[in-house]
Symmetry: C2
Subunit: 138 residues, 2 copies
Amino acid sequence: MPVPQRLTALTLGARSVPALRAFYEAIGWQANEGSDDTFTSFTMGSVRLALYPIELLNAEAAPGEVVIASGSWNGTTVSVNVATRDEVDVAIAAAVAAGANAVGSPVEREWGGYTGYFADPEGHRWEIAWAPFFTNFE
Amino acid sequence: MPVPQRLTALTLGARSVPALRAFYEAIGWQANEGSDDTFTSFTMGSVRLALYPIELLNAEAAPGEVVIASGSWNGTTVSVNVATRDEVDVAIAAAVAAGANAVGSPVEREWGGYTGYFADPEGHRWEIAWAPFFTNFE
């Protein structure tokens, strides 16, 4: 296969790595050893979630291009599946308590699940999803 | 843990799900059964990469917010680690042959690896990364 069908890391360009890290720690996540104010990572199963200053990520990955306005939606979402319907409400409430903004309320989806979104302090959209047919995640 | 430290899906809001799917298929990826022009997914180890029309994702995850301009950088990158240095060049050449834009040339990074980026036809940044200390990915 010319490009392996694999996803090893998602890097979020951060306005403030320490502040975004503090939010993720407040929702219960543990940063990897060696994380600092320039580069912080979290192990998410087989994927790393990385935080890197957006101006440095811009220079490396999109040199010369405009940096998206702070807080605006970036056109993507990241999902965290949970094992029960109740966990959706619990997780979103915990995120909001830690400083996230809820995006509406969780909704019964037409495909049979129940999901809701929160925006982290820099606007990244996280979906907490319960899908009754998909509970064998890592 | 209030919010599980887990990442089960990354959804890219797409201007054209079929065109973006065709690009990913051209670099060798296989879409999941049930994929169609509104929702297409790829299994990437323990994560799903999903493509969903950006206006629908906007309505669901960021209602009332402006949709990022087509082709502009979204402030994030997604990485695919590979097992050898040579695979970086091979993968980027394959992506470019399939319609991606190379972002400069791969570079020896100060942290000891060798990585390069391409932009898919809608501008999402993919990093192909060789990190000598990280080859036990899924």
